[in-house]
Symmetry: C2
Subunit: 144 residues, 2 copies
DNA sequence: GCCCATTTGTCCGTATGTATA
DNA sequence: TTATACATACGGACAAATGGG
């Protein structure tokens, strides 16, 4: 499972192993992981190494951690459709701590920035999908 | 500067202090920070606390770190305009390590997902802006 | 090309605090 | 209240990459 001789950082090996089990669905959304100490014992590494691996997964938005509880696979939230009509530009960046707090976002979730009509709107990317419609557009011909 | 009695985690205080100096432009894009040891000495905390604070800023996409060099404020990249014609849905998430590698993305930069015309395209959010044009739209710039 | 000081990265250990159940 | 579990903080040690001389 964990190869101490491979030269690959142990915390990355821990993160990689867990990520695979999460993305394949072996560990379902909402399910709890083993405790940090248990993972450390199973993998034969220190708890700090496990914590560093979990930090990686948190920043990827794969798990959420709450003090006193085992870390759990992040649940998918219902996606709200936000429509914009006419010329608009959309990009994304990570939120500031203030923005994370304001929108109640967990770690590892980007912020969507929609600029249209002279204003700018911000949306948490795990709950919002931006639907861009050109004015009087028909449904035909996308890019590529 | 750093208050050991405030109850606010020291590494967050370090991150907050540096974030403010970065976002206000006091430390310009591309400029190097002090070394971790120097920051630790200045702030009166351990190097591990400083490293944890820098990890926060990295995951926010504010700084980039390279082994052997001091961490530096992330430079803004020229933004490529990707235009879409017809209805499109745009969202964002953090990239997997494989995707980060494929696109040459640094830490703390989200991935833009554009679904249009039955397909899905991926773009690094620090280099690409998705544009929806109203009339006579043309598609400039291609996928990578 | 090579050494050397600097600097960040990895890993371990210990201790303590604090939230959860 | 108690046990579990995650969070914070410090310390030391060594590895690996950078950049200058």
């Amino acid at each position: 499972m964990i190869d101490h001789e491979s030269g690959i950082p142990l915390y990355l090996q821990v993160a990689d192993a867990l990520r695979k089990r999460i993305t394949t669905g072996e560990i379902a959304a909402g399910a709890e992981l083993l405790s940090e100490s248990e993972i450390a014992a199973v993998c034969g590494v220190s708890r700090e190494v496990v914590r560093k691996g979990l930090t990686v997964l948190r920043s990827e938005g794969l798990i959420v951690s709450v003090r006193g509880r085992r870390s759990a696979v992040r649940r998918e939230l219902p996606v709200e459709q936000v429509s914009v009509v006419g010329p608009a530009r959309v990009t994304a960046r990570m939120p500031t701590p203030v923005e994370r707090d304001r929108f109640g976002m967990v770690e590892g979730v980007p912020l969507l920035l929609v600029r249209a009509g002279g204003g700018e709107m911000l949306y948490p990317a795990d709950r919002v999908e931006v639907c861009m419609l050109s004015h009087g557009a028909e449904t035909r011909g996308g890019p590529r």
